[in-house]
Symmetry: C2
Subunit: 205 residues, 2 copies
DNA sequence: ACATGATTTAACCAAATGGTTAAACAAAGT
DNA sequence: ACTTTGTTTAACCATTTGGTTAAATCATGT
């Protein structure tokens, strides 16, 4: 609210508004008029800065994917012992998503709606991190007998699931179990350590 | 295809078509014309059988939620040892979703878009299963010292995550890792046993 | 044959929606 | 003062979209 009215440029106001609306309603459900209203500007000005809906959506989507994928996931390529890596990944990924709880559902939903459009969109802007190195590390540890035998891909899915899914189920979870915003944050805070321990307990012989 | 043309009634054709379109595009992205085309009928006939889009959507959504929530989740209320219950839940839930891979994303997405509408929709038709009994059972086992100490809710979330999330990430997973339809089915088949074992390994002292 | 009720269709309609236009305004340089 | 250039707006436009209407077709009982 502090800088909202003064020093913020129209383009910034538009991008913020577009972000809110697109994340809440998705590409199909979002309305250009609503974005304009939310930004406190005229609808024509929207098209002045961003030629059309798709271009604006591209911008928001790419920004969302950039926040979600590469930065934190790169941890998986780091040079760390497996357990530390798992702890680090879970913790920092939960951190990122706690600040942007609707990112995962938004991105996964749009990928589902238009899978090829997805690659086209982000191909130029950013490269998705590949989990190969992490998978090989798991394989190594299994072969060395340091951890229980697991399929690396299954383990990767386990970790990803337990980290991301709570944010996707957040609305249902909150409504059905009856947790408010604060309790959910607490739950995810607790989860940073508890889920990591859970995974490691499952691996340690 | 066998009964598509002959004995299938118009209403059935509409419901099937609506299901396909709504699950692929969601409420906002679906078009009544597309549903009519998909069903091979006139658009006016759509409104003859279902007064408007919202009513038709209600029908599909409730049917989807009914398939997703109560039947299988009731396992959690059964009178079974914890580990068997976990195995049973994971296995049968994966079975259900393997036949309807897009159900979870569809439902969770619409809940996110309109949380209060969700309860209103399904309130009359079906009651969401409550996990209390399962949570208490976990608590018991912890207190008895039979399993490692865990927060029941966290464990429940772990199980749910690992079971549901793969279907939500399916499009991204397939595209990014490079898995086709068959490989994905194999992966989820393997997962039925491997993820259950993973969870149990994490619990067993 | 024909009356009756349900089903199906083509043609339409009004509202919503993405996008455009032309004019007004503001800021900065001369 | 006056251009010039970028910014903002009100009014407008074309298409899409959910929904309606009235007529046609079909099935069924008489």
């Amino acid at each position: 609210m502090s800088k909202r009215l003064k020093d913020e440029t129209s383009e910034e106001k538009i991008l913020e508004a577009a972000r809110r609306v697109f994340l809440q309603k998705g590409m199909a459900g979002a309305r250009m008029q609503e974005i304009a209203d939310e930004a406190g500007i005229n609808k024509a000005l929207l098209h002045y800065y961003f030629r059309n809906k798709e271009l604006l959506f591209d911008r928001i989507f790419t920004q969302a994917a950039a926040k979600l994928f590469p930065k934190v996931v790169t941890i998986l390529d780091a040079d760390l012992p497996l357990f530390e890596k798992i702890e680090g990944f879970i913790s920092s990924y939960i951190d990122v998503m706690s600040e942007n709880p609707y990112l995962p559902l938004f991105v996964l939903n749009e990928v589902h709606r238009d899978p090829e459009g997805f690659y086209k969109r982000i191909s130029g802007e950013l490269k998705l991190p590949r989990p190969e190195k992490f998978l090989m590390q798991i394989d190594q540890e299994v072969k060395l007998g340091n951890i229980r035998p697991v399929s690396p891909l299954q383990l990767f899915m386990n970790i990803l699931s337990g980290t991301v899914f709570p944010f996707i189920a957040k609305p249902l979870f909150q409504m059905h179990i009856g947790v408010d915003e604060f309790q959910f944050r607490q739950f995810m805070l607790q989860r940073k350590t508890e889920f990591a321990r859970f995974v490691i307990d499952a691996l340690r012989k």
